[in-house]
């Protein structure tokens, strides 16, 4: 078996794929293009999520080695956190941000977009 994505990138892809197959990407994300990065720091690589006009792309960013590297990318927001914070949800992420364990740029947009993707993971 040949897998083109595994792990976190595949999980994000899966949510977007379900929106696309039911023709809901455009409705869920009318303000495109969207470009954001999710970096689960203990489960690399970081991924760039691109959504545009009813389609999407997931790009693995092998070159991201630390959170500071995210500043060099052209994106509207990012989330960089260890998996344990992500599993516990938005409240834990906000607490992690205050504690310096989680880094976010444009968090309201991040929560909105990831929330829509996760709701269809099933």
């Amino acid at each position: 078996m040949c897998a083109k994505l595994r792990g976190i990138p595949a999980a994000i892809y899966s949510g977007l794929w379900k929106l696309k197959i039911f023709g809901k990407l455009n409705k869920q994300f009318p303000d495109t293009p969207i470009k954001l990065i999710v970096y689960v720091t203990d489960h690399p690589p970081a991924i760039l999520i691109k959504i545009n006009e009813g389609d999407f792309e997931i790009i693995e960013l092998e070159e991201v080695k630390e959170v500071n590297d995210l500043e060099h990318f052209d994106c509207e927001g990012y989330l960089a956190a260890p998996m344990s914070y992500i599993l516990k949800g938005p409240r834990a992420l906000m607490k992690g941000k205050n504690d310096g364990e989680v880094n976010m740029k444009n968090e309201s947009r991040i929560f909105l977009i990831l929330g829509k993707i996760i709701s269809l993971l099933g």
Binding site: K4, R6, K18, I21, F22, H43, M83, G122
Partner: protein
Amino acid sequence: MSRMSALERILTVLEGNIPDRVPSCILGGDCDFVYRFMNSPYALTEEDMFQLDRDKISYATPFIHAILAKFSSADILPGGINAKIDMCWKLVGGALINLDFSDNILSQSGGAYEIFVKDDGIPHTWYMGPELLNKEHIEIYWEKEKELKPRRTQFRDISKITKVMLEKYDIVISWGTAGPFENCVLGIGLANFARFAKKDSNFLQQHLNFQWEAFEEPSLKLMLKAKPDVVMCGDDYGYNLGLQINVKHWRKFIKPILAKYVKLVHDEGAKFILHSCGNIGEIFPDFIEIGIDGVQSLKPQNNNLRMYREKYPEITLLGTIDDSKMLIYDSPEYIRNSVKENIELLGKKGGYIPGPTNFLLDHPPENVVALFKAIQEFGKY
């Protein structure tokens, strides 16, 4: 007899009586099936989805309630394909945990799952294996009791979802939970189960008791607060030729906990269905003893369905339509004839709810439609 609702029909069968016609059931389907369905002539249309969205019907895999609603008649959903489904499934609850000795995110059982995307672009979720590989791992897992406790919010919408599917689409949702065998074996592995059962039975019992107390009983209690009509517990005991474990070990370790599941569900007035793959004929007498109302899956190649029907009339047989070969490779006409024969063999006196033996994967949608249309056509009493 006047036309029954899906709920009346399902409950009538599970109570051992004869309904207006043979009801049908399905577990759901994964992304492979969704892809095929949405690229078939039966695909959900904009108009369908307008109504389904308004009713807040879930599109989530593998339960695909939105696609199952499409099988309704046109008076329920304007684009309905009139191949009625009476009962579906939805698993509820389940935590994800992180353990220091594993790189994977684990399910509440301690097993690893992975989502991956094949070259064809279709995502899949697969069980990758047990991660609690020795006593030390298991003891570290026990320390996660707090994280394994079910969250109330996971069970919040059960009543609402059940009500809409029932009242608007006439489909019963059987609420799902994982059983004690799967919760144990998916975490520690079959080899460890057998080893502990033989050489360290106290430790195995301690682990089973931990899972019951940490999340199995609390999950069931939260689910039952929503007053479901039917609960279906997934617990795969069989392989093609028999049980995966020694029957003595099943009776010693699994049966007592399964009996607690059944009692809790019955005490709340709901029916209890067990989903188990494989050949499980050896423990049918035990199912009767602990009061299980129905058994789902029952692949005909692995089970003597005629014998079950004659010897155990107390138990409703669900599924029985082979999903691994016939539903994938044979023609709609062949499937239609097979359903007719099955209903004649198993459903003459009630006690039968046919449907695919497992989740739909790479099944041609036209075969699945043929299956449910045939149940409708030949299921009249």
